[in-house]
């Protein structure tokens, strides 16, 4: 509603010389909801958690300032390092797999063919289920002792044991879960493919470019902002993975911490051990780490991401 009023109030034909100041003003009008939200909903809790990172805070009584102790403590915390190992492995394996899958399927499902809507919805279905509690039941049905995978192995004479209870394979089942729900990046890719102006292909065809050439010189470059977006967001999302392990391992990150995602450890410290000061410190370490990785992504992006502007 604000938009309509604002649009109606906008003066006709701005003199170009004043464009810059108008833009400055307009930008702040456009961003008013966000600025209010930042101050009221986002910034305060974030700053609070930054302060808490330097305190001993057990949630029930007042925080007590202890300097950098929480940060010193994590150097010798074996479970912290375990969670770092688990999370890095997970990010490095599941993000490329999931994105590759999503892009491949988006390309396949973008082309005209019968029943596209059915395929698209079908492939998206697992993502709808997301990380609902029912997943715990499903995953046990597939990877448990008498699960589907072991039944299949039994047919060829291999007696398998539970994939969820083996520290070597438990994380793998979560990677499968993540790849299985590739629907979100796929939808974003599909939307991105639709954003590519049709005329580009037409003129390329007139010039006699092959399908492969069109893919390499139109589709990929035009899609890079979306690939970049998916890469950044899926990476951040993977670093923050929580629910998968929370649901499948019942919140423990087991067996033997093999699915102890970083954020699950943050949660355990904060909500189970009531050590919210330490949990906040852990969270801010993660934030700095993700920020660095994102900054590197952005720095590298100028070499491969092409914008229309």
């Amino acid at each position: 509603m604000t938009v309509t009023t604002a649009a109606a109030d906008a003066p006709e034909a701005p003199p170009r010389a004043r464009g810059r100041r108008r833009q400055e003003l307009a930008a702040h009008v456009f961003m008013t909801p966000w600025l209010v939200g930042l101050l009221a909903v986002t910034a305060l809790p974030m700053l609070a958690s930054l302060y808490l990172a330097f305190t001993d805070y057990n949630i029930l009584s007042s925080p007590e300032f202890i300097g950098a102790d929480n940060f010193v403590r994590l150097v010798d915390d074996d479970r912290f390092w375990a969670s770092v190992r688990v999370t890095l492995t997970y990010v490095l394996v599941s993000v490329p797999l999931q994105l590759g899958f999503a892009l491949l399927l988006a390309l396949l499902l973008d082309k005209g063919m019968r029943g596209l809507a059915i395929y698209r919805s079908a492939y998206y279905l697992p993502s709808l289920l997301g990380t609902s509690v029912a997943v715990a039941v499903l995953w046990r049905q597939i990877f448990g002792h008498d699960g589907l995978v072991n039944q299949a192995l039994a047919l060829v004479g291999i007696e398998g044991s539970s994939w969820l209870q083996n520290p070597q394979t438990a994380l793998g089942t979560l990677v499968v879960l993540n790849v299985w729900t590739f629907g979100s990046p796929m939808v974003i890719f599909l939307a991105g493919l639709r954003q590519i102006p049709h005329e580009l292909y037409e003129s390329a065809r007139v010039d006699g470019a092959s399908v492969l050439r069109q893919f390499a010189h139109i589709t990929v470059p035009m899609l890079t902002p979306i690939i970049f977006f998916n890469l950044i967001l899926q990476t951040i999302g993977a670093f923050q993975s929580f629910t998968q392990s929370h649901v499948v391992s019942g919140g423990t990150g087991g067996p033997v911490d093999s699915t102890l995602f970083y954020t699950l450890y943050v949660y355990q410290q904060g909500f189970v051990s009531f050590d919210m000061g330490y949990a906040s410190a852990l969270a801010w370490v993660l934030l700095v780490f993700i920020a660095l990785i994102t900054a590197v992504h952005f720095a590298l992006s100028r070499y491969w991401v092409h914008y229309g502007d």
């Binding site: 002792h145 539970s162 067996p255 909500f271 189970v272």
Partner: protein, 435 residues
């Protein structure tokens, strides 16, 4: 271009407009979200499954009919979610007036002054309890939580299987020891024609572990809030189980889906399992084809007198509750713990009644499984017992730690003594940090 974008615009605003219509409809029906008219209601927070939720809301309706001017707003979630919500509410000091206390947090909540002293609440009727009973309820010498059930550690067995396979468990007494049980378990598992196992792997069960410790003269926690068991005590318990597991007398970790057995998965594969006395009520219902009975766990030959103990689930009144709410809370506590009507509605899934009068009155209408539970709890209650202390602040993760070291042991990545010492170290560090 104009024509095109106008059409787009129209479609888009139709999309958004539909949404706005939806949201204005919602604000029309009584403010955004409606909130409910629960101002002035007594907030009662508890955990459980949907059956318990239904039973309790029915009981609360009956309570509201019986107690004038009482309005109860139930805050319900499953055990984990309940704790997440409670933690958040406590941080904001926006705590329900009456709440169940999760066992690992009993002393943590106490250390942070969340409990209202129950003595002096005139509406709370404690007349059914003996002074000894009341002393047993106290924490740190104060009556600040109200037990509303009793669990004891038990060995549950499937009588249908026992009959089919012609097994008889030794009578209580000199013949019923950990050694004789181990022997029976190995023998049964080796000879079971159906591929049944004698036991599920139960080293993770907290009440049984505590029972083992007390039979050795140790305890789970000391009075001054430290770890009450030795490395030997813990190691001997794990050893007893590892011996059975390696001999194939228990289900494998893989079969039972983790070091803590999943009952729906193992229920029809095992003869016996260690558990809480109250679990028989829910667990038996999942396997209606079988009958179950309870036994006291075996007793070591050199077990000291009074090793038996009662575990109480507790509820508390929030220390920040206003006086009128405290008075209502007293009425609610009385109704919950001292009326047989309450238990008739909600059943006995939270254990045998603490109130001795109610325990007697409920017995005739109890189901067979419930009577089995009542019997075994009454027997433990009748003996003189040494005191038991609750988990100190900071120890709340001890069961998770235990699960993890048991995983290490069963996977062979750590020896039993290493596992025992690393568990004690980790729990001790956590307790010291919280102090």
């Amino acid at each position: 271009m104009n024509a095109v974008s106008r059409r787009k615009l129209f479609q888009l605003s139709a999309l958004v407009g539909g949404g706005l219509a939806g949201s204005s409809a919602l604000s029309a029906c009584g403010g955004v979200g409606g909130g409910g008219d629960s101002a002035g209601a007594l907030r009662y927070a508890m955990w459980g499954n949907n059956v318990r939720q239904q039973n309790y809301s029915k009981a609360f309706e009956e309570m509201q009919a019986a107690v004038p001017d009482l309005q109860i707003a139930m805050e319900f979630a499953d055990y984990t979610a309940f704790q997440e919500r409670m933690t958040t509410q406590m941080a904001a000091r926006n705590v329900p007036h009456v709440f169940w206390v999760p066992s690992p947090q009993v002393m943590t909540y106490y250390a942070n002054d969340l409990y209202r002293d129950l003595e002096g609440i005139e509406t709370l009727d404690l007349s059914d309890y003996s002074p000894t009973d009341l002393d047993g309820f106290k924490l740190d010498g104060k009556l600040n939580t109200m037990p509303f059930g009793i669990f004891v550690p038990v060995l549950r067995y499937n009588t249908t299987f026992a009959e089919e396979d012609g097994v008889e468990l030794p009578e209580d007494g000199a013949g019923w020891t950990w050694d004789s049980l181990a022997e029976l378990a190995k023998d049964y598992s080796a000879n079971s024609s159906q591929g049944r196992k004698a036991l599920s792997y139960g080293a993770e069960h907290d009440l049984s572990f505590e029972n083992w410790l007390r039979q050795r003269g140790e305890q789970l926690w000391t009075e001054d809030g430290r770890v009450g068991f030795t490395q030997d005590g813990l190691a001997s318990w794990i050893e007893w189980w590892e011996d059975l597991r390696k001999a194939g007398a228990t289900t494998s970790i893989s079969e039972q889906d983790g070091v803590a057995p999943d009952w729906p998965t193992v229920g029809d594969k095992i003869l016996m399992n260690f558990g809480n006395s109250n679990h028989i009520i829910d667990d038996a219902q999942q396997f209606p084809d079988y009958d179950f009975a309870l036994r006291h766990p075996p007793v070591a030959e050199d077990a000291p007198e009074g090793f038996q103990y009662l575990y109480y689930p507790r509820m508390a009144v929030y220390s920040g509750a206003e006086d009128d709410m405290v008075a209502k809370a007293g009425q609610v506590l009385t109704y919950c713990t001292s009326t047989v009507e309450m238990l008739k509605t909600v059943g006995l899934t939270m254990g045998a009644p603490v109130n001795p009068r109610v325990a007697e009155e409920i017995a005739p209408s109890a189901t067979a499984d419930e009577q089995e539970m009542l019997r075994i709890v009454a027997e433990d209650r009748a003996v003189e017992r040494k005191p038991r202390y609750e988990a100190p602040p900071g120890s709340s993760t001890w069961r998770t730690v235990m699960g993890r070291v048991l995983e290490e042991v069963t996977l062979g990545s750590s020896s039993i003594s290493e596992a025992a010492s690393s568990m004690i170290d980790e729990v001790t560090t956590a307790i010291e940090r919280a102090a």
